[in-house]
Symmetry: D2
Subunit: 344 residues, 4 copies
Amino acid sequence: MIKAAIIGATGYSGAVLAAILAHHKNVEIVSLVSKSYCGQLFSDIYKNFKGVLDIELETENIEEISKKADVIFLALPHGIASAKINEDILNNTKVIDLGADFRLNNKETYEKWYKTEHFGQNLLNEAVYGLPEWNFEKIKHARLVANPGCYATASILAVAPLLKEGIIYPDEIIIDAKSGVTGAGRGLNIDTLFCECNETIKPYKVASHRHTPEIEQILGDISKQNVLINFTPHLIPMNRGILASVYLKPNKDFELNDIKEIYKKYYKDKPFIRLLDEEAQTRWTKGTNYCDISIFKDTRTKRIMVFSAIDNLYKGASGQAVQNMNIMFNLNEKTALQNIAIFP
Amino acid sequence: MIKAAIIGATGYSGAVLAAILAHHKNVEIVSLVSKSYCGQLFSDIYKNFKGVLDIELETENIEEISKKADVIFLALPHGIASAKINEDILNNTKVIDLGADFRLNNKETYEKWYKTEHFGQNLLNEAVYGLPEWNFEKIKHARLVANPGCYATASILAVAPLLKEGIIYPDEIIIDAKSGVTGAGRGLNIDTLFCECNETIKPYKVASHRHTPEIEQILGDISKQNVLINFTPHLIPMNRGILASVYLKPNKDFELNDIKEIYKKYYKDKPFIRLLDEEAQTRWTKGTNYCDISIFKDTRTKRIMVFSAIDNLYKGASGQAVQNMNIMFNLNEKTALQNIAIFP
Amino acid sequence: MIKAAIIGATGYSGAVLAAILAHHKNVEIVSLVSKSYCGQLFSDIYKNFKGVLDIELETENIEEISKKADVIFLALPHGIASAKINEDILNNTKVIDLGADFRLNNKETYEKWYKTEHFGQNLLNEAVYGLPEWNFEKIKHARLVANPGCYATASILAVAPLLKEGIIYPDEIIIDAKSGVTGAGRGLNIDTLFCECNETIKPYKVASHRHTPEIEQILGDISKQNVLINFTPHLIPMNRGILASVYLKPNKDFELNDIKEIYKKYYKDKPFIRLLDEEAQTRWTKGTNYCDISIFKDTRTKRIMVFSAIDNLYKGASGQAVQNMNIMFNLNEKTALQNIAIFP
Amino acid sequence: MIKAAIIGATGYSGAVLAAILAHHKNVEIVSLVSKSYCGQLFSDIYKNFKGVLDIELETENIEEISKKADVIFLALPHGIASAKINEDILNNTKVIDLGADFRLNNKETYEKWYKTEHFGQNLLNEAVYGLPEWNFEKIKHARLVANPGCYATASILAVAPLLKEGIIYPDEIIIDAKSGVTGAGRGLNIDTLFCECNETIKPYKVASHRHTPEIEQILGDISKQNVLINFTPHLIPMNRGILASVYLKPNKDFELNDIKEIYKKYYKDKPFIRLLDEEAQTRWTKGTNYCDISIFKDTRTKRIMVFSAIDNLYKGASGQAVQNMNIMFNLNEKTALQNIAIFP
């Protein structure tokens, strides 16, 4: 049994992670850590765990936890993990960081976009970006995995095949993304009160969202070219789900079928990617690790539109973290992740 | 492997049933029947099943199906099952009817409330009411199980212990129930359009809802007395969940703790009932077979209030149907039903 | 022109009040006060007022305001108004308190339910309960009006006629109430985050909600008898609206039509009460000062069920406050309150 | 008093139109026509009109109506109006068509996108596109106004100033639009059932939505050049509101402030356009005729992003129709349209 710990268990992605791990046949949860609720039962905070995971929440002592856990999941706000993870910890245990601290490989870029100091520069090169569809082999041998951002997951999976094939302009990529409110986390904020989000839609962090450099870096790594994107997130009155609507400009006039073949080439063996003929929508991915992708062509403008839908807390966070863990521990990557979307 | 068929697979409870059975280790789905969509792939109607259950929907031929299936689930509007099920069918296969046709044991009561003829009177006595917490032994040996109504499940589980103990007035029971919109099914109806249900709440079928005689009959059977209830359903702008708020008048002034002990007495070994100290709410049961119950006393009026929360499509329909199947086939009743509620 | 000030303008009821007064032909807004946002433009907090009410929010100085305003609306948390309002203020201006401090006429009852000290005992007798349908004459001559609670408004209007006529048992009144999330206000609270309220329903403050003694006191005043109620509020995933479902036990078996005649007797001339034959629902009252009431009888149990629907921020708060102001200033009570409900 | 008739009064835009006209001081409603509900009271279909507009719905006889009405509003599915409106009708009355039949000035384009025959070709040149911010003078003298589509209104208002100034590429315009479910109308359709729309987001009619040629034609008329857009609508789980997120490519690197000055130049005197510094969102326009516009520049890609928010049933349909009527009858264009957005 893999002994797993979650630091930051009472945030939304921590809770979803606990739910997946609780039913993972190869995993034993040895520690749930929460700064805000330590000493309380996890099932008193998330009552859906009543009778299932009645574990007491601990204060964080990462050194101690690293000795008893085979893997530590960090589900923390950015800026904390970079100060906590070090060589000693990684000698004891594997680490999967659901936060942003080890996603960018350039300290300056991180500090510019996140406006905080990075304390773990020496680990930036070692950390592996945990997007299994494009990084499987590296993840397999990693000690430290940087789990991708939710928007980044949906965006990269939608764009990477065409960039990799070199058939779209790398500086003409427009990503209009829409997220449910869980993406904003469980912190207290007037903007995420029910009555402030319900019955409205808005863009936010226009031209300044922190997943922008992450998407550009990874797409650049995959396609070996500089990538420049327009990324705009929007807040949608629903709990879960991200839809990325991506507008791409091909460098000649391709047939839609040829475009679709490219996606099949890269994704046909990927268990969590479903290529759809009809429009992707978030509901079919809710509570699952799937990324549903559909591809269209506007025959008038020649532009290609790709829509990718994920559950932001699953493939966009905790599901993908478990997928990474499975790979790091040589399990079938689908283990504990074969749900059918909850609908209706 | 138990060979299972679902007749009425493309309604909401049919779809949830398919999702549970698809992951049931002892079950093989041999037939999905749909009148509206026969010939199409099930996964083209419910795209969450893409890659999971890409079965073609069949036209209904219950005789043929009864020969190849060990159990048939009927998820049909009322008035159909009573004409379809007969001795021949039951000699071939077990039947679990999610509809209303075999719940009431009196033909006249059925015809009065449902305003349609009943064609299977001879089976009314044989049919077993499939509420495992109160009818386990009978279910075990049943050929024909009448799966309880969603409101009836939440209501009966909330009231039965106190009635059985004889400490509340059986004609002073007020049940104010609230349901998500899936309870209205997938049929076309202006009243269930998004914009007609969203941002509003209303009562409906006041003093005339068909679960009323069902609740009274079963509570009467359990407590051996005539029971008369006030039952009022309300429609809530959410997809899933039922909350029953029950107001009971005790025949003397009991301590809350003594009342709670009664619930423990009847439910402590029931795997799907959770007795809570805080208010029950539907979110903790979503996508699970749990019925969460919390008990309060108003020290000023001496009245007892019981709140029970279920997922109307799980414990209120398809989850309970699988629980019944498990019992009928001598499996652990929890098999395939141990989900953690999807939250957030 | 009536010069009006709002103290607590940036809470939800303050904002709705400002919207009504901004279009009231007899009113000029002279001051908007906000503790949290003073110095900012009101239209920067509530951007729907952009170009309409670009007033700077002031710090509170009630003495000064009382000198320039003909009427002060207080929209504050309980426990504050009782310390602020005094004889000097009331000599300068009329006061309409949307909070709870002057609703109960007994200091001890207030302090027991609100768990805070009351500082304005001497004004408890003078304050008039601002429910115009039952208190019109007193409101007309009041200096200090206690605007009713939202739940209290819906509940009292539903029950009062039958109690007044003496045909129901005054200690067998069950009120199961449902409210949208605006009822919880704009304060920061994990329980009112979008993802915590959406897709669920729950009861709260069972047998302990503070509107209970208010409802009992006013119904007692109206019917000259002791009244004892069971009151249970529930939280519904929608912004606005309250539905009160009331269960009443008549002291003999009345015809439904006779019951309906009683409601007509008391309400036929009340401009904001609509007696409906079909089920009341909150959507038809949204953004209006209407209270829609529908009356049913369960012929089996003889019980009478009354459903009343209001917009909690209109008839349940700010609309009713303006109705009271209209009456206090000898205007037509409908002035500025003749909206048609926003639908869909 | 202007005598007004609505043909198609029981659709969503018909109902909102009736609400506006009912409170318009210069208008008397002389006829409400409904094919589906004729003979019933309008207030029995939309119960928010109870006590306000208890008019009987008539069958359609446009000739008769044209004799008694000064203006007829048509709120019908496309393909009907083109056969109904003719010279005789227009000699009797003014017509404002909320449908699509007279928006495109080319019969072939209409028939290609709408896949139905057009019967009123002779009126295509006479019909005036009713977007007052760009067509005020023509509307003033029109007999037949084609009221703009909801998406078209939000899109054109967002893009027109920069196109008119010639500073963006006219074939590099990407419009990613999001609409609430009222946009789909009140027809029976599984896709707009509550449980099918709630908690999900999807694109639809990708590269094929019928507002595409309308937007291109009008933008072309305004800027005297060929315009080619990518237009993608999405369905959002809310009742009302459209947000258009527009991505524009300037032909050189402009300062954001200069861009904003251009919007001020064209819109500073337009009463229903508000230029915001922060992100536009639909909630501040709900129930109003405002179009809120905010402008951003991505300094990395040089692209300009414009966000425009409207209430699809107000500025996107019925509010704009009344604005057009006001102009056609020489009233202040703001008459009856000065609401403050309903929030929360």
